[in-house]
C-alpha cells in the first residue's frame, strides 16, 4: 500500500492532498488526467506575438532611458556627513572640551579636593559642555538656513535628530570620564553622584532649548551667551544651599531629575513638532 502511494506520488505532477478519501478517488482517475495535465503543462507556454512583445520592450527601453537612478544614503553615511561638515571651530571647541574634562578630573584628583566641591565643579563643567554641544543644533536654525534645509533630502528634522544624537554621545563620554576619574573622591554611591551631575545638566538643556525657540528674532549670539550664563548659575545653586548634597535631600534630587528628563523630552518633541508645522521656520 505504501509503495503504491509512493509510486502515484511520483507520477502525478500535482501535490497530493492529505485527505485519504480524496486521494483514493484521485488515484483512480490519476493516470488519465496525468497525461492530459502533463501535456498541458508543457503547452501552457504558447508562442508569443513577437511584434507586440517588441513594441512593449521598446516602451520599456524608453522608460529605462529617461529614468534617473537616485541613491539614498544610509543613516550611517548621514551621520558621518554631518560630522564632517561641522566647522573647524565647533570641532575644536568640542575637542578642547574633552581635553579640559580630562585635565579637570586629573587636577581634582591631585588636589584631593573635598567631595562636595568636586561635584559642584564637575556639574558646572558638564553644563557648559552640554551647551556647547547644543550650539551645534542651534546653528541649524541660524542664518535663515532653516527653510532651505527643510527641503533637502536630509530634512531639518533629521538633521536636528542627528546633531542631538552627536551632542548626547559627546556629553555621555564627558560624564563617564568625570564620573570615572573623580567618583572615588566622595563618599556617596555612583547613583547619587550621577544624579547630582545630571540634574543641573538636564535643566540647563531644557532652558537652552526653550530659549532657542522662544526668542526667534533676537540676535543669535546674545541668546546663546545669555542662555549659557543662566545655566551656569543654575548649576551653582548648591553652593548657596549648605545641605544640598546630604542624603536626606536625595528624593528631591530624584524628583527634579525625573521632571528634568520629562521636560527635556517635551522640549525636543516641541521643536520637532514646530519643524513639521513649518509656520515658524519661515519669515514672512
Amino acid at each position: 500500500m505504501n509503495e503504491k502511494m509512493k509510486k502515484e506520488k511520483m507520477e502525478s505532477p500535482l501535490n497530493e492532498p492529505k485527505d485519504c478519501r480524496t486521494e483514493h478517488n484521485l488515484a483512480e482517475t490519476a493516470e488519465i488526467s496525468d497525461r492530459r495535465i502533463q501535456s498541458l503543462q508543457e503547452a501552457w507556454r504558447f508562442q508569443l506575438d513577437e511584434s507586440k512583445k517588441n513594441r512593449s520592450l521598446a516602451v520599456i527601453r524608453q522608460a529605462a532611458e529617461t529614468k534617473q537612478i537616485r541613491q539614498y544614503p544610509s543613516f550611517r553615511e548621514n551621520l558621518w556627513n554631518q560630522f564632517c561638515f561641522l566647522p573647524w571651530k565647533c570641532r575644536a571647541a568640542q575637542g578642547g572640551m574633552l581635553l579640559a574634562a580630562m585635565l579637570l578630573a586629573g587636577w581634582l584628583n591631585s588636589q584631593h579636593a573635598d567631595g562636595r566641591d568636586s561635584i559642584i565643579v564637575c556639574s558646572v563643567f558638564l553644563v557648559f559642555a552640554g551647551n556647547i554641544c547644543l550650539s551645534g543644533v542651534a546653528r541649524l536654525f541660524s542664518w535663515h538656513m532653516a527653510e532651505l534645509e527643510q527641503t533637502l533630502y536630509l530634512n531639518l528634522k533629521q538633521m536636528v535628530c542627528i546633531r542631538m544624537l552627536e551632542a548626547g554621545i559627546l556629553d555621555l563620554v564627558i560624564l563617564s570620564l568625570l564620573a570615572g576619574m573623580t567618583g572615588r573622591l566622595n563618599s556617596l554611591g555612583t547613583g547619587a553622584y550621577l544624579l547630582y551631575m545630571l540634574v543641573p545638566f538636564l535643566w540647563s538643556d531644557v532652558l537652552y532649548l526653550h530659549m532657542l525657540t522662544a526668542f526667534r528674532n533676537g540676535a543669535a549670539g546674545y541668546r546663546q551667551i545669555s542662555a549659557g550664563i543662566l545655566c551656569g548659575l543654575l548649576a551653582f545653586f548648591p553652593v548657596f544651599f549648605e545641605h544640598a548634597y546630604e542624603a536626606a535631600y536625595l528624593p528631591w534630587w530624584r524628583g527634579l531629575g525625573l521632571a528634568g528628563a520629562v521636560l527635556l523630552a517635551a522640549e525636543i518633541y516641541g521643536i520637532l513638532g514646530k519643524i513639521e508645522g513649518g509656520d515658524s521656520l519661515c519669515l514672512n
Partner: protein, 287 residues
C-alpha cells in the same frame, strides 16, 4: 516626467487666508507666477516644497501625496527660497559640497557636480572665497547653483532674479530655458520680463486666488481693447495720471505720451494699443 497636482489647496494663517482653494495641474514646462507682494505666491511655493502644510486640500506628485513620498519627493526637488540663507564662514565650494551631501548626490559625483554648477553660474573663480564677502548678485547665483545640484525634476524658484542686473538676469533666463526640458520649473516673481520670455504658462495670483492663466499670448489677449495710447498736454497728462491706471508716461517734445489701462476709452482721441504683459499686470494688480 513628473506630474504635480494641486487639489483645492488652502492655507490659513490665524486670521488671514493666504492661499484660497487653488487647483492646478502642472506638467512639463516653465510656469510663471505673477503677483503683488502678499498675493500668496510664496506660501503656495512653500507648500509645494513641503515646508508648510496646507490647511486643507492635497498636493500630489504622480498620484501620491507628497507627505507620503517624503524623502523621495525631496530628492526630485530643487528650491531657491526668497530669503536665501547661508553659513557666512563657509566658502562657496564647501557650502555647495555640504548641500550636495544633504541632497543625496552620490559621493563620486558630488565634486564634479559642484564644479559644473559653479561654472554654470559663473562663480568658478570665487569658489574659495567666504560667502560673507559675496555681493547680492553673487549670493543669488550661488542659490541658483545649489538648487540645481541634484538634477531636480521639479525646480521651484522664489524671486530668483531679485538683486540681479540685466546681464545676469538674461543669463539666468537662458540657464532656465536650457534646463527646462522634461522638468517642471516654477518661478515666482514680480519682474514681468522674467516670465514674458520663458514661461510656457503664466499664472496671475491675487489675494490667494489664480485670476488668470494661460500662455503669453492668451494672457495679453485677455486685456485686448483695454489698453490705450494718447498724446496729451502736460496738465491733461497729470490729471489722467491720477484718475487712470497709467502704464507708461513719457515726454515727447511738448506733449506727453501716455499709455492707459482702462476698460473703457479714457478720453477722445485715445487709440487702442497692442497690450503687453506689463499692461496685464497693471490691469489686474493696479488699483
Amino acid at each position: 516626467m513628473p506630474e504635480l497636482t494641486i487639489d483645492r489647496v488652502t492655507k490659513q494663517f490665524k486670521n488671514k487666508i493666504a492661499v484660497d482653494t487653488v487647483s492646478l495641474d502642472l506638467h512639463n514646462g516653465v510656469y510663471g507666477f505673477l503677483g503683488a507682494n502678499g498675493a500668496g505666491k510664496t506660501t503656495l511655493l512653500r507648500m509645494l516644497c513641503g515646508v508648510l502644510k496646507p490647511t486643507s486640500g492635497e498636493i500630489r506628485c504622480n498620484g501620491t501625496e507628497i507627505r507620503m513620498l517624503d524623502g523621495e519627493y525631496r530628492c526630485l526637488l530643487g528650491y531657491l527660497p526668497q530669503d536665501f540663507g547661508y553659513y557666512p564662514d563657509f566658502t562657496a565650494k564647501r557650502y555647495l559640497e555640504y548641500l550636495a551631501a544633504c541632497k543625496a548626490v552620490p559621493q563620486y559625483l558630488a565634486k564634479e557636480k559642484v564644479q559644473e554648477m559653479l561654472r554654470l553660474v559663473g562663480l568658478e573663480g570665487e569658489q574659495k572665497q567666504k560667502i560673507k564677502t559675496f555681493s547680492g548678485g553673487m549670493i543669488r547665483r550661488l542659490g541658483i547653483a545649489q538648487a540645481l545640484l541634484n538634477d531636480p525634476e521639479i525646480l521651484i524658484l522664489d524671486e530668483p532674479t531679485s538683486g540681479l542686473d540685466p546681464k545676469e538676469r538674461i543669463r539666468f533666463r537662458n540657464i532656465i530655458s536650457a534646463l527646462s526640458k522634461g522638468k517642471i520649473v516654477i518661478l515666482s516673481t514680480h519682474i514681468v520680463s522674467d516670465v514674458e520670455f520663458i514661461a510656457d504658462q503664466i499664472l496671475l495670483m491675487k489675494q490667494g486666488c489664480i485670476v488668470e492663466q494661460g500662455n503669453s499670448r492668451e494672457v495679453t489677449g485677455s486685456v485686448r481693447g483695454k489698453v490705450w495710447e494718447y498724446l496729451a498736454e502736460p496738465e491733461e497728462a497729470d490729471r489722467m495720471n491720477e484718475t487712470f491706471a497709467v502704464s507708461n508716461l513719457k515726454n515727447e517734445g511738448d506733449k506727453v505720451y501716455i499709455r492707459i489701462v482702462s476698460d473703457t476709452c479714457p478720453c477722445e482721441g485715445a487709440a487702442p494699443a497692442e497690450p503687453g504683459l506689463e499692461d496685464v499686470y497693471l490691469y489686474y494688480f493696479g488699483n
